[in-house]
Symmetry: C2
Subunit: 243 residues, 2 copies
DNA sequence: TTACATTTGTTCGTATGTATA
DNA sequence: TTATACATACGAACAAATGTA
């Protein structure tokens, strides 16, 4: 039987291979930082030519889901690599200087998801979320407050202590502790004003205008796993948009 | 003699082909909306295999510089296509509704470029620019003011009347009247306050906090051709970031 | 409607080069 | 040095979309 018969008509073979690779990643068959099998083995496994497999992998590489190293292999992307981190961290000083933020956990609780949170995270009505606030500093400036909500069902063992003690970036922490790989984010930006809590944390006057970055973060296959609202003081910093 | 000898060692052949294609585009050999020669002819012209030519074209397609249509040919991208336009227009209503803006030219003059404008547009110190303001409305809401500066040397025949009467988008206008193709933009976002002029145009109170979008727009080979500062009222609208 | 030529899309297989361990 | 793995390049064959006679 022709292999194409297994798929919808009109679906290119390389696309089906790409979906199979994504499914393997989502199932945890290959995990962060590890090499996936070499191209010739994968091609044989899927019963396609090396060129077809290559086209499928090409797309995942361009989406920063896999990383190729000539002579070594193809690896599941981690959030350790600097470039990849800055893909998701877009705030830098107005003179262009980039640094890693230092983080302080301000507040942490478990609560019933609001109606809006359920929509954003595609959760049932009675779901619970963890809801927490982080204060981020750059070059000793208090720059932004992240308000973050994640579904309890995916982050069951999350608690205040481990979150406060983590040494890595938050998405790296998700990856290492919950096996959740953030591969995409979608953001909407607008202007808001500091409420009393945020103003206190950022040491600014109440009602100071702030940049509001409303982000939903997705893992493989477009599944939302985090809703984040960042309120940033852009007096000395700015948001770098892509393309 | 090996063809590779013509290029820097370590430069892949497909990359050299891509640069040749870009040079042909920059020189105006192929113009907006037109089909470039078919793959087999280009492959023969450059003395490479069809697969190598294809890889070069693939990259230009992924950068939205060329557009392929199966059965018809490969075309120089225009700003007429909706999707491409929205790639550069990122403001939409909070409910997700997208529309084209209507534009009114508020002010137009020719002046000596400021020091900052010279830096942004990579111009010599004594260069002149056209400096103009547009008011943009969406769904009959006054949403944003664009402050735009372009080098006189590239837009020599630009004048208030043609700019005010244009029916197309601004980048389409650049393309049709000056042969300038905007293929990339880089944007930095922050918060500002409405000065008296902007407040008057947008019919809001002075010092209302606005989203400031600072954009440099580039044509082929990373040459900056426009500096634009957009001040947007995000009360009912928001900025959609990519990836 | 049909048939045909043109053009890009997909898939295959092979050979050789380069980087790594 | 050697083996492995990805990178580049070549060429061929057929499929699918398009436009035209």
């Amino acid at each position: 039987m022709n292999k194409k018969e297994f798929f919808l008509p009109g679906t290119p073979l390389y696309f089906a291979v790409k979906q199979s690779l994504l499914a393997a990643l989502a199932s945890g068959e290959w995990v962060r930082g590890q090499a996936i099998p070499p191209e010739n083995q994968l091609a044989e496994k899927f019963g396609v030519s090396i060129g077809t497999l290559r086209k499928a992998v090409d797309e995942l590489v361009s989406e920063h889901i896999l990383i190729r190293h000539q002579g070594r292999g193809t690896f599941v992307a981690t959030h350790e690599s600097d470039q990849h981190f800055f893909k998701f961290f877009r705030i830098q000083r107005r003179d262009g200087y980039k640094t890693y933020p230092t983080t302080r956990l301000l507040k942490f609780r478990r609560r019933k998801a609001t109606r809006e949170a359920c929509e954003r995270l595609q959760l049932p009505k009675d779901a619970s979320v963890f809801h927490f606030f982080n204060l981020l500093s750059l070059n000793n400036d208090l720059v932004m407050v992240d308000e973050i909500q994640v579904p309890e069902v995916l982050f069951a063992t999350l608690n205040e202590q481990s979150l406060g003690e983590r040494s890595s970036t938050l998405y790296n922490f998700y990856q290492n502790n919950f096996g959740i790989n953030i591969v995409d984010t979608r953001e909407k930006l607008s202007v808001c004003q500091a409420d009393s809590a945020v103003a206190g944390w950022l040491d600014i006057a109440e009602a100071t205008p702030l940049l509001l970055i409303d982000r939903t973060a997705y893992t493989y296959q477009d599944r939302p796993v985090e809703w984040r609202q960042t309120r940033a003081n852009t007096a000395k910093y700015e948001y770098i948009a892509k393309d």
